[in-house]
Subunit: 314 residues, 2 copies
Protein backbone atom coordinates (compact mmCIF):
# COMPACT_ATOMS: atom_id res chain seq x y z
CA UNK A 1 0.00 0.00 0.00
CA UNK A 2 2.09 2.93 -1.24
CA UNK A 3 -0.34 5.46 0.30
CA UNK A 4 1.01 4.48 3.73
CA UNK A 5 4.50 5.68 2.89
CA UNK A 6 5.20 8.98 4.67
CA UNK A 7 8.94 9.28 3.92
CA UNK A 8 10.80 7.57 1.12
CA UNK A 9 14.11 7.75 2.92
CA UNK A 10 14.33 8.00 6.72
CA UNK A 11 17.68 8.64 8.38
CA UNK A 12 18.07 7.74 12.05
CA UNK A 13 21.15 9.20 13.70
CA UNK A 14 21.98 6.86 16.58
CA UNK A 15 20.62 3.33 16.76
CA UNK A 16 19.99 3.02 20.50
CA UNK A 17 16.79 2.12 22.35
CA UNK A 18 14.73 4.90 20.78
CA UNK A 19 16.39 5.06 17.34
CA UNK A 20 16.19 1.30 16.81
CA UNK A 21 12.59 1.22 18.04
CA UNK A 22 11.62 3.94 15.52
CA UNK A 23 13.29 1.92 12.76
CA UNK A 24 11.54 -1.30 13.81
CA UNK A 25 8.16 0.43 14.13
CA UNK A 26 8.46 2.38 10.86
CA UNK A 27 9.28 -0.82 9.03
CA UNK A 28 6.55 -2.84 10.77
CA UNK A 29 3.97 -0.20 9.85
CA UNK A 30 5.29 0.36 6.33
CA UNK A 31 5.62 4.13 6.80
CA UNK A 32 9.00 4.46 5.07
CA UNK A 33 10.68 2.89 2.05
CA UNK A 34 14.33 2.95 3.08
CA UNK A 35 15.91 3.30 6.51
CA UNK A 36 19.49 4.43 6.89
CA UNK A 37 21.08 4.62 10.31
CA UNK A 38 24.40 5.46 11.91
CA UNK A 39 26.26 3.93 14.81
CA UNK A 40 29.47 5.31 16.27
CA UNK A 41 31.44 2.12 16.80
CA UNK A 42 32.31 -0.67 14.39
CA UNK A 43 30.95 -3.16 16.93
CA UNK A 44 27.54 -1.47 17.11
CA UNK A 45 27.35 -1.14 13.30
CA UNK A 46 27.95 -4.87 12.97
CA UNK A 47 25.25 -5.54 15.56
CA UNK A 48 22.77 -3.27 13.75
CA UNK A 49 23.42 -5.17 10.52
CA UNK A 50 22.78 -8.44 12.37
CA UNK A 51 19.55 -7.14 13.91
CA UNK A 52 18.43 -6.07 10.44
CA UNK A 53 16.13 -3.17 11.28
CA UNK A 54 17.88 -0.78 8.85
CA UNK A 55 18.60 -1.04 5.12
CA UNK A 56 21.84 0.88 5.29
CA UNK A 57 24.25 1.36 8.20
CA UNK A 58 26.96 4.01 7.91
CA UNK A 59 29.52 5.60 10.18
CA UNK A 60 29.18 9.27 9.23
CA UNK A 61 26.10 11.27 10.20
CA UNK A 62 26.36 13.51 7.11
CA UNK A 63 26.38 10.43 4.89
CA UNK A 64 23.17 9.17 6.50
CA UNK A 65 21.46 12.55 6.15
CA UNK A 66 22.21 12.82 2.43
CA UNK A 67 19.07 12.40 0.31
CA UNK A 68 16.94 11.67 3.40
CA UNK A 69 13.39 13.05 3.44
CA UNK A 70 13.44 12.98 7.20
CA UNK A 71 16.37 12.86 9.61
CA UNK A 72 15.61 11.94 13.24
CA UNK A 73 18.46 12.63 15.62
CA UNK A 74 18.38 10.00 18.41
CA UNK A 75 21.45 10.84 20.48
CA UNK A 76 21.82 12.28 24.02
CA UNK A 77 20.54 15.85 24.33
CA UNK A 78 24.05 17.24 24.82
CA UNK A 79 25.22 15.88 21.44
CA UNK A 80 22.34 17.15 19.30
CA UNK A 81 23.88 20.54 18.46
CA UNK A 82 27.06 18.90 17.21
CA UNK A 83 25.08 16.45 15.07
CA UNK A 84 23.02 19.29 13.56
CA UNK A 85 26.26 21.00 12.59
CA UNK A 86 27.61 17.81 11.00
CA UNK A 87 24.55 17.06 8.88
CA UNK A 88 23.67 20.68 7.91
CA UNK A 89 25.58 20.65 4.62
CA UNK A 90 24.18 17.28 3.52
CA UNK A 91 20.47 18.01 4.02
CA UNK A 92 18.37 18.18 0.90
CA UNK A 93 15.96 21.11 0.38
CA UNK A 94 12.53 20.42 1.85
CA UNK A 95 13.78 17.69 4.20
CA UNK A 96 12.54 17.54 7.79
CA UNK A 97 14.95 17.36 10.73
CA UNK A 98 13.60 16.10 14.03
CA UNK A 99 14.89 14.60 17.28
CA UNK A 100 13.66 12.60 20.29
CA UNK A 101 15.18 14.55 23.19
CA UNK A 102 13.48 14.76 26.59
CA UNK A 103 14.34 18.46 26.78
CA UNK A 104 13.11 20.81 24.04
CA UNK A 105 14.25 24.35 24.83
CA UNK A 106 17.93 23.43 24.82
CA UNK A 107 17.51 21.29 21.70
CA UNK A 108 16.09 24.25 19.80
CA UNK A 109 18.82 26.52 21.18
CA UNK A 110 21.54 24.07 20.07
CA UNK A 111 20.16 22.67 16.80
CA UNK A 112 18.11 25.44 15.16
CA UNK A 113 21.07 27.73 14.31
CA UNK A 114 22.58 24.98 12.12
CA UNK A 115 19.44 24.01 10.17
CA UNK A 116 19.47 25.51 6.63
CA UNK A 117 16.63 27.90 5.68
CA UNK A 118 15.18 25.45 3.13
CA UNK A 119 14.94 22.60 5.64
CA UNK A 120 12.13 22.16 8.22
CA UNK A 121 12.90 21.65 11.87
CA UNK A 122 10.22 19.85 13.94
CA UNK A 123 11.54 18.84 17.38
CA UNK A 124 9.78 15.83 18.91
CA UNK A 125 9.70 13.97 22.19
CA UNK A 126 8.20 10.47 22.27
CA UNK A 127 7.28 9.97 25.94
CA UNK A 128 8.25 6.32 25.99
CA UNK A 129 11.25 4.28 26.99
CA UNK A 130 12.53 1.54 29.22
CA UNK A 131 15.46 1.21 31.60
CA UNK A 132 17.50 -0.56 28.91
CA UNK A 133 19.68 1.02 26.21
CA UNK A 134 21.34 0.07 22.93
CA UNK A 135 20.10 -1.39 19.62
CA UNK A 136 19.11 -4.72 21.19
CA UNK A 137 16.78 -3.01 23.66
CA UNK A 138 14.42 -1.54 21.05
CA UNK A 139 11.09 -2.99 19.95
CA UNK A 140 8.44 -1.96 17.44
CA UNK A 141 5.60 -1.55 19.95
CA UNK A 142 7.43 0.92 22.23
CA UNK A 143 5.40 3.93 21.07
CA UNK A 144 1.99 2.33 20.96
CA UNK A 145 -0.59 4.25 22.97
CA UNK A 146 2.16 6.64 24.19
CA UNK A 147 2.29 10.38 23.64
CA UNK A 148 4.66 12.09 21.27
CA UNK A 149 5.02 15.82 21.88
CA UNK A 150 6.03 18.08 18.96
CA UNK A 151 7.47 21.50 19.81
CA UNK A 152 7.91 23.29 16.46
CA UNK A 153 9.46 26.78 16.82
CA UNK A 154 7.25 29.72 15.69
CA UNK A 155 6.75 29.97 11.90
CA UNK A 156 7.59 26.31 11.26
CA UNK A 157 6.00 25.07 8.02
CA UNK A 158 2.57 23.66 8.92
CA UNK A 159 2.79 20.88 6.32
CA UNK A 160 6.05 19.64 7.83
CA UNK A 161 4.49 19.55 11.32
CA UNK A 162 1.53 17.65 9.89
CA UNK A 163 3.83 15.15 8.27
CA UNK A 164 5.71 14.44 11.51
CA UNK A 165 2.37 14.12 13.26
CA UNK A 166 1.23 11.55 10.70
CA UNK A 167 4.52 9.69 11.10
CA UNK A 168 4.18 9.34 14.87
CA UNK A 169 0.52 8.45 14.63
CA UNK A 170 1.44 5.70 12.18
CA UNK A 171 3.83 4.34 14.84
CA UNK A 172 0.88 4.11 17.25
CA UNK A 173 1.41 7.32 19.24
CA UNK A 174 -0.97 10.12 20.17
CA UNK A 175 0.50 13.45 19.14
CA UNK A 176 0.34 16.75 21.03
CA UNK A 177 1.81 20.06 19.88
CA UNK A 178 3.01 22.56 22.51
CA UNK A 179 5.70 25.16 22.98
CA UNK A 180 9.12 24.05 24.13
CA UNK A 181 9.08 25.98 27.40
CA UNK A 182 5.81 24.46 28.55
CA UNK A 183 7.03 20.99 27.53
CA UNK A 184 10.12 21.41 29.67
CA UNK A 185 8.08 22.41 32.71
CA UNK A 186 5.61 19.51 32.41
CA UNK A 187 8.36 16.96 31.79
CA UNK A 188 10.34 18.32 34.75
CA UNK A 189 7.64 16.98 37.06
CA UNK A 190 6.50 13.88 35.11
CA UNK A 191 9.93 12.60 34.24
CA UNK A 192 13.00 14.58 35.25
CA UNK A 193 12.27 15.04 38.97
CA UNK A 194 11.17 11.38 39.41
CA UNK A 195 14.46 10.28 37.86
CA UNK A 196 16.47 12.64 40.05
CA UNK A 197 14.71 11.41 43.20
CA UNK A 198 15.16 7.77 42.20
CA UNK A 199 18.86 8.23 41.44
CA UNK A 200 19.23 10.06 44.74
CA UNK A 201 17.59 7.45 46.96
CA UNK A 202 19.46 4.59 45.31
CA UNK A 203 22.63 6.64 45.83
CA UNK A 204 21.79 7.14 49.51
CA UNK A 205 21.44 3.37 49.87
CA UNK A 206 24.68 2.77 47.98
CA UNK A 207 26.52 4.83 50.59
CA UNK A 208 25.39 2.70 53.54
CA UNK A 209 28.02 0.47 55.11
CA UNK A 210 28.36 -2.76 53.18
CA UNK A 211 26.45 -5.10 55.52
CA UNK A 212 23.41 -2.82 55.49
CA UNK A 213 23.66 -2.40 51.72
CA UNK A 214 23.50 -6.17 51.27
CA UNK A 215 20.34 -6.19 53.36
CA UNK A 216 18.86 -3.35 51.34
CA UNK A 217 19.32 -5.44 48.20
CA UNK A 218 17.89 -8.50 49.91
CA UNK A 219 14.78 -6.77 51.27
CA UNK A 220 14.25 -4.44 48.32
CA UNK A 221 10.79 -5.82 47.50
CA UNK A 222 9.33 -3.42 50.07
CA UNK A 223 9.39 -0.51 47.60
CA UNK A 224 13.03 0.29 46.93
CA UNK A 225 13.32 -2.00 43.91
CA UNK A 226 10.85 0.17 41.93
CA UNK A 227 13.26 3.10 42.28
CA UNK A 228 16.19 1.05 41.10
CA UNK A 229 14.54 0.48 37.74
CA UNK A 230 14.38 4.20 37.07
CA UNK A 231 17.87 4.66 38.49
CA UNK A 232 19.18 2.09 36.01
CA UNK A 233 18.47 4.37 33.04
CA UNK A 234 21.23 5.56 30.72
CA UNK A 235 23.66 7.85 32.64
CA UNK A 236 24.75 9.99 29.67
CA UNK A 237 21.20 10.65 28.57
CA UNK A 238 20.16 11.70 32.06
CA UNK A 239 23.21 13.81 32.80
CA UNK A 240 22.41 15.80 29.66
CA UNK A 241 18.76 16.17 30.58
CA UNK A 242 19.53 17.71 33.97
CA UNK A 243 22.21 19.99 32.56
CA UNK A 244 19.80 21.17 29.85
CA UNK A 245 16.57 21.59 31.81
CA UNK A 246 18.15 23.20 34.84
CA UNK A 247 15.58 25.93 35.55
CA UNK A 248 12.44 23.81 35.38
CA UNK A 249 14.05 20.96 37.35
CA UNK A 250 15.26 23.33 40.09
CA UNK A 251 11.81 24.93 40.23
CA UNK A 252 10.07 21.56 40.72
CA UNK A 253 12.76 20.42 43.13
CA UNK A 254 12.03 23.51 45.24
CA UNK A 255 8.36 22.59 45.46
CA UNK A 256 9.23 18.98 46.23
CA UNK A 257 11.50 20.09 49.09
CA UNK A 258 8.86 22.40 50.55
CA UNK A 259 6.35 19.55 50.56
CA UNK A 260 8.88 17.15 52.07
CA UNK A 261 9.51 19.58 54.95
CA UNK A 262 5.80 19.51 55.75
CA UNK A 263 5.77 15.69 55.74
CA UNK A 264 8.92 15.56 57.84
CA UNK A 265 7.41 17.89 60.41
CA UNK A 266 4.22 15.77 60.49
CA UNK A 267 6.27 12.64 61.23
CA UNK A 268 8.33 14.42 63.88
CA UNK A 269 5.19 15.82 65.57
CA UNK A 270 3.21 12.58 65.29
CA UNK A 271 0.59 14.38 63.19
CA UNK A 272 -1.22 11.40 61.66
CA UNK A 273 -4.00 13.46 60.06
CA UNK A 274 -1.65 15.34 57.74
CA UNK A 275 -0.07 12.04 56.63
CA UNK A 276 -3.41 10.31 56.14
CA UNK A 277 -4.86 13.20 54.11
CA UNK A 278 -1.93 13.25 51.70
CA UNK A 279 -1.84 9.45 51.36
CA UNK A 280 -5.53 9.48 50.45
CA UNK A 281 -5.22 12.26 47.86
CA UNK A 282 -2.37 10.54 46.03
CA UNK A 283 -4.40 7.36 45.41
CA UNK A 284 -6.76 9.26 43.10
CA UNK A 285 -3.94 10.31 40.78
CA UNK A 286 -3.02 6.73 39.99
CA UNK A 287 -6.64 5.93 39.18
CA UNK A 288 -6.65 8.82 36.69
CA UNK A 289 -3.48 7.56 35.00
CA UNK A 290 -4.99 4.10 34.59
CA UNK A 291 -8.25 5.63 33.31
CA UNK A 292 -6.49 7.60 30.55
CA UNK A 293 -4.72 4.42 29.44
CA UNK A 294 -1.17 5.40 30.38
CA UNK A 295 -0.72 2.56 32.87
CA UNK A 296 -1.72 -1.05 33.31
CA UNK A 297 -4.19 -1.71 36.13
CA UNK A 298 -2.44 -5.04 36.76
CA UNK A 299 -1.11 -5.63 40.26
CA UNK A 300 2.55 -4.63 40.64
CA UNK A 301 2.65 -3.33 37.01
CA UNK A 302 2.07 -6.94 35.87
CA UNK A 303 5.40 -7.82 37.48
CA UNK A 304 3.71 -10.67 39.27
CA UNK A 305 2.95 -12.33 35.94
CA UNK A 306 6.47 -11.69 34.74
CA UNK A 307 7.80 -13.41 37.85
CA UNK A 308 5.37 -16.33 37.67
CA UNK A 309 4.99 -16.97 33.94
CA UNK A 310 3.92 -20.53 34.66
CA UNK A 311 1.19 -19.67 37.12
CA UNK A 312 -2.45 -19.08 36.27
CA UNK A 313 -4.23 -15.90 37.37
CA UNK A 314 -4.99 -15.72 41.06
Amino acid sequence: MPEKIIFNRLAIIGAGLIGSSIARAARAKGTVKTIVTTARTEKTRRRVVELGFADVVVDANALAAMDADCVIVCVPVGDCGEVAKEIAGALKPGAIVSDVGSVKGAIIRDMAPHIPKNVHFVPAHPVAGTEHSGPDAGFAELFENRWCILTPPDHTDAAAVKKMQAFWQALGSHVEVMNAEHHDLVLAITSHLPHLIAYNIVGTAADLESRTLLEVIKFSAGGFRDFTRIAASDPTMWRDIFLNNKDAVLEMLGRFNDDLSILTRAIRDGDGDTLFDLFTRTRAIRRSIIEVGQETPETDFGRWHAEHPEAGKK
Copy 2:
Protein backbone atom coordinates in the same frame (compact mmCIF):
# COMPACT_ATOMS: atom_id res chain seq x y z
CA MET B 1 -0.10 -35.56 54.19
CA PRO B 2 -0.54 -34.84 57.92
CA GLU B 3 3.22 -34.27 58.38
CA LYS B 4 2.84 -30.99 56.46
CA ILE B 5 0.45 -29.59 59.06
CA ILE B 6 2.21 -26.98 61.20
CA PHE B 7 -0.79 -25.57 63.07
CA ASN B 8 -4.11 -27.33 63.59
CA ARG B 9 -6.00 -24.08 64.02
CA LEU B 10 -4.73 -20.81 62.57
CA ALA B 11 -6.44 -17.54 63.47
CA ILE B 12 -5.96 -14.56 61.20
CA ILE B 13 -7.05 -11.25 62.68
CA GLY B 14 -7.91 -9.00 59.73
CA ALA B 15 -8.62 -10.43 56.27
CA GLY B 16 -7.00 -7.78 54.08
CA LEU B 17 -4.33 -8.15 51.39
CA ILE B 18 -1.81 -9.85 53.71
CA GLY B 19 -4.22 -11.75 55.97
CA SER B 20 -6.19 -13.19 53.07
CA SER B 21 -2.98 -14.08 51.21
CA ILE B 22 -1.68 -15.99 54.25
CA ALA B 23 -4.98 -17.87 54.45
CA ARG B 24 -4.93 -18.71 50.74
CA ALA B 25 -1.28 -19.78 50.84
CA ALA B 26 -1.63 -21.82 54.05
CA ARG B 27 -4.56 -23.66 52.56
CA ALA B 28 -2.88 -24.16 49.17
CA LYS B 29 0.21 -25.62 50.87
CA GLY B 30 -1.75 -27.68 53.39
CA THR B 31 0.10 -26.22 56.38
CA VAL B 32 -2.96 -25.78 58.60
CA LYS B 33 -6.13 -27.77 59.29
CA THR B 34 -8.59 -25.01 60.11
CA ILE B 35 -8.46 -21.28 59.35
CA VAL B 36 -10.55 -18.84 61.33
CA THR B 37 -10.53 -15.16 60.45
CA THR B 38 -12.15 -11.94 61.55
CA ALA B 39 -13.41 -8.97 59.59
CA ARG B 40 -14.69 -5.78 61.14
CA THR B 41 -17.73 -5.09 58.98
CA GLU B 42 -20.68 -7.32 58.08
CA LYS B 43 -20.03 -6.54 54.41
CA THR B 44 -16.42 -7.75 54.55
CA ARG B 45 -17.39 -10.86 56.51
CA ARG B 46 -19.90 -11.73 53.79
CA ARG B 47 -17.26 -11.17 51.14
CA VAL B 48 -14.76 -13.40 52.98
CA VAL B 49 -17.35 -16.17 53.13
CA GLU B 50 -17.92 -15.78 49.37
CA LEU B 51 -14.19 -15.87 48.64
CA GLY B 52 -13.96 -19.04 50.73
CA PHE B 53 -10.34 -18.84 51.94
CA ALA B 54 -11.32 -19.35 55.60
CA ASP B 55 -13.29 -22.08 57.35
CA VAL B 56 -14.78 -19.78 59.96
CA VAL B 57 -15.41 -16.04 59.83
CA VAL B 58 -16.27 -14.23 63.07
CA ASP B 59 -16.68 -10.64 64.19
CA ALA B 60 -14.83 -10.72 67.54
CA ASN B 61 -11.04 -11.03 67.68
CA ALA B 62 -11.15 -12.89 71.02
CA LEU B 63 -13.51 -15.43 69.51
CA ALA B 64 -11.10 -16.09 66.64
CA ALA B 65 -8.14 -16.45 69.01
CA MET B 66 -9.88 -19.04 71.19
CA ASP B 67 -8.34 -22.52 70.74
CA ALA B 68 -6.00 -21.27 67.99
CA ASP B 69 -2.49 -22.75 67.90
CA CYS B 70 -1.27 -19.66 66.11
CA VAL B 71 -2.81 -16.18 65.92
CA ILE B 72 -1.45 -13.85 63.24
CA VAL B 73 -2.50 -10.23 63.68
CA CYS B 74 -2.84 -8.64 60.22
CA VAL B 75 -4.09 -5.13 61.01
CA PRO B 76 -2.42 -1.71 60.67
CA VAL B 77 0.55 -1.26 63.03
CA GLY B 78 -1.32 1.31 65.13
CA ASP B 79 -4.11 -1.17 65.99
CA CYS B 80 -1.92 -4.11 67.03
CA GLY B 81 -1.65 -3.18 70.71
CA GLU B 82 -5.42 -2.95 71.03
CA VAL B 83 -5.89 -6.33 69.32
CA ALA B 84 -3.31 -7.96 71.63
CA LYS B 85 -5.29 -6.66 74.60
CA GLU B 86 -8.56 -8.01 73.17
CA ILE B 87 -7.27 -11.53 72.49
CA ALA B 88 -5.05 -11.90 75.59
CA GLY B 89 -7.68 -13.61 77.75
CA ALA B 90 -8.72 -16.04 75.00
CA LEU B 91 -5.26 -17.39 74.09
CA LYS B 92 -4.60 -21.00 74.98
CA PRO B 93 -1.37 -21.97 76.78
CA GLY B 94 1.47 -22.73 74.35
CA ALA B 95 -0.14 -20.80 71.48
CA ILE B 96 1.99 -18.55 69.26
CA VAL B 97 1.02 -14.93 68.61
CA SER B 98 2.55 -13.24 65.58
CA ASP B 99 1.89 -10.25 63.32
CA VAL B 100 2.85 -8.92 59.88
CA GLY B 101 3.69 -5.28 60.66
CA SER B 102 6.29 -3.33 58.68
CA VAL B 103 7.60 -1.85 61.93
CA LYS B 104 8.82 -4.15 64.68
CA GLY B 105 10.06 -2.05 67.61
CA ALA B 106 6.68 -0.36 68.13
CA ILE B 107 4.83 -3.67 67.67
CA ILE B 108 6.83 -5.25 70.48
CA ARG B 109 6.33 -2.15 72.64
CA ASP B 110 2.55 -2.24 72.08
CA MET B 111 1.78 -5.97 71.95
CA ALA B 112 4.27 -7.71 74.27
CA PRO B 113 2.85 -6.31 77.55
CA HIS B 114 -0.51 -7.97 76.80
CA ILE B 115 0.77 -11.44 75.85
CA PRO B 116 0.31 -13.96 78.72
CA LYS B 117 3.46 -15.62 80.12
CA ASN B 118 2.44 -19.06 78.81
CA VAL B 119 2.00 -17.84 75.21
CA HIS B 120 4.87 -17.31 72.73
CA PHE B 121 5.24 -14.01 70.89
CA VAL B 122 7.13 -14.16 67.55
CA PRO B 123 6.74 -10.89 65.59
CA ALA B 124 7.08 -11.29 61.83
CA HIS B 125 7.30 -9.08 58.76
CA PRO B 126 6.69 -10.67 55.35
CA VAL B 127 8.42 -8.26 52.93
CA ALA B 128 5.78 -8.60 50.24
CA GLY B 129 2.73 -6.72 49.13
CA THR B 130 1.05 -4.89 46.30
CA GLU B 131 -0.61 -1.50 45.94
CA HIS B 132 -4.05 -3.08 46.44
CA SER B 133 -5.85 -3.76 49.72
CA GLY B 134 -8.76 -5.80 51.03
CA PRO B 135 -9.69 -9.50 50.92
CA ASP B 136 -10.09 -9.55 47.13
CA ALA B 137 -6.53 -8.33 46.59
CA GLY B 138 -4.83 -11.34 48.19
CA PHE B 139 -3.35 -14.32 46.36
CA ALA B 140 -1.61 -17.50 47.46
CA GLU B 141 1.69 -16.82 45.67
CA LEU B 142 2.33 -13.41 47.27
CA PHE B 143 5.07 -14.69 49.59
CA GLU B 144 6.87 -16.94 47.16
CA ASN B 145 10.58 -16.15 46.93
CA ARG B 146 10.09 -13.15 49.25
CA TRP B 147 11.74 -12.64 52.62
CA CYS B 148 9.95 -12.92 55.92
CA ILE B 149 11.83 -11.34 58.83
CA LEU B 150 11.21 -12.65 62.36
CA THR B 151 12.14 -10.39 65.28
CA PRO B 152 11.58 -12.47 68.44
CA PRO B 153 12.32 -10.53 71.65
CA ASP B 154 15.16 -11.89 73.83
CA HIS B 155 14.40 -15.18 75.57
CA THR B 156 11.62 -16.16 73.18
CA ASP B 157 11.11 -19.93 73.10
CA ALA B 158 13.37 -21.33 70.35
CA ALA B 159 10.86 -24.01 69.36
CA ALA B 160 8.18 -21.37 68.76
CA VAL B 161 10.55 -19.36 66.55
CA LYS B 162 11.38 -22.52 64.63
CA LYS B 163 7.71 -23.26 64.11
CA MET B 164 7.00 -19.79 62.69
CA GLN B 165 10.06 -20.18 60.48
CA ALA B 166 8.73 -23.50 59.16
CA PHE B 167 5.32 -21.92 58.58
CA TRP B 168 6.70 -19.07 56.44
CA GLN B 169 9.03 -21.41 54.59
CA ALA B 170 6.03 -23.59 53.77
CA LEU B 171 4.40 -20.49 52.26
CA GLY B 172 7.39 -20.09 49.94
CA SER B 173 9.34 -17.43 51.85
CA HIS B 174 12.96 -17.23 52.89
CA VAL B 175 13.19 -16.50 56.61
CA GLU B 176 15.68 -14.25 58.38
CA VAL B 177 15.85 -13.62 62.13
CA MET B 178 17.11 -10.23 63.36
CA ASN B 179 16.51 -7.82 66.20
CA ALA B 180 13.66 -5.35 65.94
CA GLU B 181 15.82 -2.25 66.01
CA HIS B 182 17.98 -3.38 63.10
CA HIS B 183 14.88 -4.42 61.15
CA ASP B 184 13.40 -0.95 61.57
CA LEU B 185 16.57 0.71 60.28
CA VAL B 186 16.90 -1.51 57.20
CA LEU B 187 13.22 -1.21 56.32
CA ALA B 188 13.38 2.57 56.75
CA ILE B 189 15.58 2.72 53.67
CA THR B 190 14.20 -0.21 51.63
CA SER B 191 10.54 0.55 52.15
CA HIS B 192 9.52 3.46 54.37
CA LEU B 193 11.61 6.22 52.78
CA PRO B 194 10.72 5.12 49.20
CA HIS B 195 7.04 5.29 50.13
CA LEU B 196 7.45 8.71 51.75
CA ILE B 197 9.25 10.07 48.69
CA ALA B 198 6.67 8.61 46.33
CA TYR B 199 3.76 10.02 48.32
CA ASN B 200 5.55 13.35 48.42
CA ILE B 201 6.23 13.69 44.69
CA VAL B 202 2.72 12.60 43.77
CA GLY B 203 1.48 15.18 46.27
CA THR B 204 3.66 17.88 44.70
CA ALA B 205 2.09 17.07 41.33
CA ALA B 206 -1.41 17.05 42.82
CA ASP B 207 -0.89 20.65 43.93
CA LEU B 208 -0.09 21.94 40.44
CA GLU B 209 -2.76 24.05 38.80
CA SER B 210 -5.39 21.88 37.13
CA ARG B 211 -4.28 22.22 33.50
CA THR B 212 -0.73 21.17 34.35
CA LEU B 213 -2.02 18.32 36.52
CA LEU B 214 -4.00 16.96 33.58
CA GLU B 215 -0.81 17.03 31.53
CA VAL B 216 1.13 15.30 34.27
CA ILE B 217 -1.40 12.46 34.18
CA LYS B 218 -1.29 12.37 30.39
CA PHE B 219 2.50 12.27 30.10
CA SER B 220 3.12 10.15 33.19
CA ALA B 221 4.83 7.34 31.25
CA GLY B 222 8.11 9.27 31.53
CA GLY B 223 8.73 8.00 35.06
CA PHE B 224 6.06 9.54 37.28
CA ARG B 225 3.61 6.66 36.91
CA ASP B 226 5.99 4.29 38.75
CA PHE B 227 5.76 6.53 41.80
CA THR B 228 1.98 6.61 41.68
CA ARG B 229 1.84 2.85 42.19
CA ILE B 230 3.67 3.13 45.50
CA ALA B 231 1.67 6.22 46.41
CA ALA B 232 -1.56 4.24 45.91
CA SER B 233 -0.82 2.01 48.90
CA ASP B 234 -3.15 1.83 51.89
CA PRO B 235 -3.21 5.23 53.72
CA THR B 236 -3.97 3.89 57.21
CA MET B 237 -1.23 1.31 57.03
CA TRP B 238 1.33 3.87 55.93
CA ARG B 239 0.30 6.58 58.38
CA ASP B 240 0.88 4.07 61.18
CA ILE B 241 4.25 3.01 59.81
CA PHE B 242 5.60 6.56 59.76
CA LEU B 243 4.22 7.36 63.21
CA ASN B 244 5.79 4.17 64.59
CA ASN B 245 9.20 4.20 62.93
CA LYS B 246 9.84 7.90 63.38
CA ASP B 247 13.51 7.80 64.42
CA ALA B 248 14.81 5.51 61.67
CA VAL B 249 12.75 7.28 58.99
CA LEU B 250 13.98 10.72 60.09
CA GLU B 251 17.56 9.43 60.14
CA MET B 252 17.32 8.10 56.55
CA LEU B 253 15.46 11.20 55.44
CA GLY B 254 18.35 13.29 56.74
CA ARG B 255 20.83 11.34 54.63
CA PHE B 256 18.53 11.55 51.61
CA ASN B 257 18.30 15.32 51.98
CA ASP B 258 22.07 15.71 52.31
CA ASP B 259 22.55 13.72 49.09
CA LEU B 260 19.85 15.69 47.31
CA SER B 261 21.60 18.97 48.17
CA ILE B 262 24.74 17.67 46.48
CA LEU B 263 22.77 16.72 43.34
CA THR B 264 20.96 20.05 43.37
CA ARG B 265 24.24 21.92 43.56
CA ALA B 266 25.65 19.82 40.69
CA ILE B 267 22.67 20.72 38.50
CA ARG B 268 22.89 24.40 39.45
CA ASP B 269 26.65 24.49 38.74
CA GLY B 270 26.42 22.46 35.53
CA ASP B 271 28.68 19.81 37.09
CA GLY B 272 28.05 16.89 34.72
CA ASP B 273 30.73 14.62 36.19
CA THR B 274 29.07 14.41 39.61
CA LEU B 275 25.76 13.53 37.95
CA PHE B 276 27.30 10.96 35.61
CA ASP B 277 29.23 9.26 38.43
CA LEU B 278 26.14 8.81 40.58
CA PHE B 279 23.98 7.66 37.65
CA THR B 280 26.57 5.00 36.84
CA ARG B 281 26.89 3.72 40.42
CA THR B 282 23.14 3.28 40.82
CA ARG B 283 22.86 0.96 37.82
CA ALA B 284 24.92 -1.69 39.62
CA ILE B 285 22.48 -1.87 42.53
CA ARG B 286 19.62 -2.91 40.28
CA ARG B 287 21.74 -5.66 38.75
CA SER B 288 22.39 -7.00 42.28
CA ILE B 289 18.69 -7.03 43.10
CA ILE B 290 17.93 -8.99 39.95
CA GLU B 291 20.83 -11.38 40.67
CA VAL B 292 19.54 -12.22 44.15
CA GLY B 293 16.12 -13.00 42.67
CA GLN B 294 14.17 -10.14 44.25
CA GLU B 295 13.19 -8.56 40.92
CA THR B 296 12.24 -9.59 37.42
CA PRO B 297 14.80 -8.74 34.72
CA GLU B 298 11.90 -8.12 32.31
CA THR B 299 11.76 -4.70 30.66
CA ASP B 300 9.56 -2.25 32.57
CA PHE B 301 8.91 -4.85 35.34
CA GLY B 302 7.12 -6.97 32.72
CA ARG B 303 4.59 -4.12 32.40
CA TRP B 304 5.03 -4.22 28.67
CA HIS B 305 3.61 -7.73 28.54
CA ALA B 306 0.78 -6.74 30.85
CA GLU B 307 -0.09 -3.90 28.46
CA HIS B 308 0.25 -6.01 25.31
CA PRO B 309 -1.10 -9.40 26.35
CA GLU B 310 -1.86 -10.21 22.73
CA ALA B 311 1.59 -9.44 21.34
CA GLY B 312 4.41 -11.92 21.00
CA LYS B 313 7.82 -11.20 22.46
CA LYS B 314 9.83 -8.54 20.64
